[in-house]
């Protein structure tokens, strides 16, 4: 296959990874632990979109035509926005029930990380119980790939997803660099004690981080579900590439997470074509090891 097409496929996967990694990198830098349950927020987001879209379909009498040229009806974007709020609420609920209590007790990082493993399993099993392990789909419409310059091909859904991801990343970046709450988030990330002395309510910042992380995870999960399929393990399987992207970009950096996601996605695409599909998962490991050896602070990270 031609190199431009491999790059495009890599960019598609990479955009999803980057979108998920933004939430991961923010929770990592502000709450100071690696949240292994972040993948489940993607999965829950995808399933919540599915359920809300189903409800909208049932309420409107399921005969809506797809929005031309895309494969889905207007029920999906509306459901996606509602599901983003629901996923944010889920993230807040998990924090209130689990992580917040551990923080209050001054638990060590390793305890919080182990608790996130537990949360990951519980959230995943909950989905298998509610929806079974059978793959689900937002749409059964077939889409014909369009011809693009340089011999590339992509479906309208895929192109829409790339555009939406770029918009979301830009919006989050502007929020962090230009708004008061963004500055407060960076302040808590750099020095929580000094942030408190400067008048910042760290509990409020933590709530905003969960809301943002949950909403972005839902967006990534829903887009992934649209382009591939919805499975209870979809988020868990993305966890390693998410961490690779966050570490590669530098913990705490939004542009870094996005660029890291694109690099991981493109490396995966090349590995699949040059070595074999069974090596896809190894790419994340190799990248994490290389970054930790060569530049532990990542591309955009500050030295510890």
């Amino acid at each position: 296959m031609m190199i431009p097409q491999i790059l495009l496929e890599g960019a598609l996967t990479g955009a999803l990874i980057g979108l998920g990694a933004i939430g991961l990198t923010l929770t990592y830098s502000i709450l100071r632990f690696a949240n292994f349950a972040h993948g489940e927020l993607l999965t829950w987001g995808a399933y919540l979109s599915l359920s809300v879209a189903g409800l909208i379909g049932a309420a409107t009498g399921a005969s809506l035509p797809p929005i031309d040229p895309f494969s889905f009806t207007w029920a999906l974007p509306v459901a996606g926005l509602i599901a983003m709020l629901l996923t944010a609420a889920l993230a807040l609920a998990v924090d209130a029930a689990l992580f917040g209590r551990l923080r209050g007790r001054g638990a060590s990082t390793i305890i919080v990380v182990m608790a996130s493993f537990g949360a990951s399993m519980a959230l995943r099993s909950g989905l298998e119980f509610l929806y079974t392990s059978k793959p689900a789909y937002y749409t059964t419409e077939l889409q014909i790939a369009m011809r693009l310059p340089a011999g590339m091909r992509a479906t309208p859904d895929q192109l829409l997803m790339l555009g939406l991801t770029a918009l979301v990343v830009l919006a989050v970046h502007l929020m962090l660099t230009r708004t008061g709450i963004g500055r407060a988030m960076r302040a808590v990330s750099e020095n929580p004690a000094l942030a408190g002395l400067t008048g910042i309510d760290t509990r409020k910042v933590i709530r905003v981080v969960w809301i943002l992380g949950g909403a972005l995870a839902c967006a990534a999960g829903t887009m992934s579900g649209l382009l591939v399929q919805i499975r209870p393990y979809m988020g868990f399987d993305l966890l390693l590439p998410l961490f690779a992207a966050a570490i590669l970009g530098g913990i705490g950096s939004v542009p870094g997470a996005m660029l890291g996601g694109l690099i991981v996605g493109i490396c995966e695409a090349f590995a699949v074509h040059l070595i074999g599909a069974e090596w896809r998962a190894a790419v994340g490991f190799v990248l994490i090891i290389l970054v930790l050896l060569a530049r532990p602070s990542g591309l955009f990270g500050r030295a510890a």
């Binding site: 750099e190 004690a193 000094l194």
Partner: protein, 244 residues
Amino acid sequence: MTPLATAALVAGYERDLPIIKGIDFTLAPGGFVAVLGPNGAGKSTFVKAIAGLVPVHSGALSLRGANVTGLAPHELLRRGLAFVPQTENIFATMTIRENLQLAAAVLPRPARAGRIGAMLEMFPDLAHRSGALAGGLSGGQRQMLAIARALLVKPQVLILDEPSAGLSPKAVGQVFETLVRINAAGTPILLVEQNVRAALKVAARAVILVDGRLRHDAPAAELAGDPEIGALFLGAGHGEGARA
């Protein structure tokens, strides 16, 4: 009204290990008090407990007569208590202006730009490079930014934990000069210092902590001439210590 008072204050990082063992202290309106004492006496812990950074086990803390015991640092700041920590007292990855904007966020929106402007006017060294990263500032300039950040919210009480630590003699002079100016304008100051000679020159009053208890409380001039105090502290170096 008394800007700041503690009553039988007991505090420490661990529940069963009080470092501050019952301190009664009042800061008078417009006062400038130095907190002195040998290494390990609990000077830093005392002011950190007042600022909400170290748990208070028992006793009370009041600001202008209101009981504020156990409040978080961000709540204490909103009630007029500003604290400048000894180290890591600025956000190094942000610009000077962003550091000030963060502090200004507790003020009503229309007042923010004016106060940031006032601080930049008061500290011209910071003004002509307000877009630069704070991490690139010299030790003395960092201390000035930390003081500007604290002063921006017009605090009722300003507390500083060893602002002279690690600074050149010239920078120490500038920092203390600034504190005198701030105090003269009406803001009461509580200052922890290892540099006893310098502290007794600027403060009006000094308290001496020994093993978590208040041992002396006297006008600074009186202490400066006391040979016993001289033997206790003035021979001691400016070493790091008294953190725990």
